[in-house]
Symmetry: C2
Subunit: 203 residues, 2 copies
């Protein structure tokens, strides 16, 4: 099994983290997203959406979108509840992550710490910061009442939200004012099987 990835990407880290928890080996193949390698016809044959992470489950069988990949591996495991409403609740938080969190926190991080702020995007960066803080406010409110996002258990909803939250400082987000998020991050990092985003573990 091959994970096509860009190592610093939180979306790619999600997959490595879950697979490590599940003890499922995967080969990492780095794709140079900056050089446009995800936009080539060869890569689009793997993933028409042209993005990493993309996983090759068996030769020629590909799956894309980080949270869809998480779901694929988590079904039937302790990382996804059996209850119908709790499963939908996991998806609720994963769609929140992709729509209301990642476009602000991950993009701000990428511009500030990796790719550079594109010309003329200074105002947009400020807006993304504001919306990123709105996402963190939602998380803080939620985590004031619970240890994990769904069903009082560590699940892929936590993995999805942890990926970019725990490196939000690289997007100049101050997490000091979010004690519940900080306690939750400590909880996530203490679940046995945890790995860091920069670990290049060979599975």
């Amino acid at each position: 099994m091959i994970l096509y990835q860009y190592h610093p990407s939180g979306n790619c880290y999600k997959i490595r983290l879950l697979l490590h928890h599940l003890n499922i080996p995967v080969q990492l193949v780095d794709v140079n997203t900056k050089a446009g390698e995800t936009r080539t016809p060869e890569f689009r044959a793997k993933n028409p959406i042209g993005k990493v992470p993309t996983i090759e489950l068996e030769p020629g069988v590909f799956l894309a979108e980080s949270n869809a990949i998480l779901w694929y591996f988590a079904e039937g495991t302790r990382y996804l509840p059996d209850d119908r409403l709790l499963r939908a609740r996991v998806l609720q938080w994963m769609f929140f992550e992709q729509y209301s969190h990642e476009p602000y926190i991950a993009v701000a991080r990428n511009w500030i710490s990796y790719a550079g702020i594109p010309a003329g995007k200074e105002v947009e960066l400020q807006e993304r910061q504001e919306k990123g803080y709105m996402a963190l406010d939602v998380m803080e409110d939620e985590l004031r009442q619970k240890r994990f996002f769904v069903g009082e258990r560590f699940s892929i909803a936590d993995i999805a939200l942890y990926a970019y939250t725990h490196v939000a400082h690289e997007g100049k987000f101050q997490l000091v004012r979010y004690p519940a998020i900080q306690a939750w991050m400590d909880q996530v990092a203490s679940v046995p099987g945890h790995i860091q985003i920069d670990e290049r573990i060979s599975l």
Copy 2:
């Protein structure tokens, strides 16, 4: 069961469309999103993310995020495959919809046909148009080879993508150059149980 909604929203239409296919009655309660009614403490007690659609499954039990709600109702029905890979593939296209399609096509539509273009956002609108066309290109390529997005069957992946694609002209997207998308839209609209976005069907 109560659907808190804004009627012209494609995200809200998704839910009405699936529930109509499933013959599940629901009470519609319109929320004035423009007046900030989704951001009040009362509404946030229903949905901490502060958005519509939000559904009240039973008194006091709420679920948010349009595609999570689709999943909740589709599990165990013909609108979601049983196969593990096909299910993840449905999620792949639903996450594509929320990350790479809706923020461009739905937002352009809203600015152009409903809310008005916010001051200073003309360049951003142009960028959103370009990215919207990139999403339509991906869909066209995919639909050249298949009738529906997943497993050659109408599923919630089609419902999720149909919602804003079929009203993309309201965001000034030209669909003339997308024959495969047009054929697919005809297919979706011809599935028995279909309703239009502006129908105010009382279920």
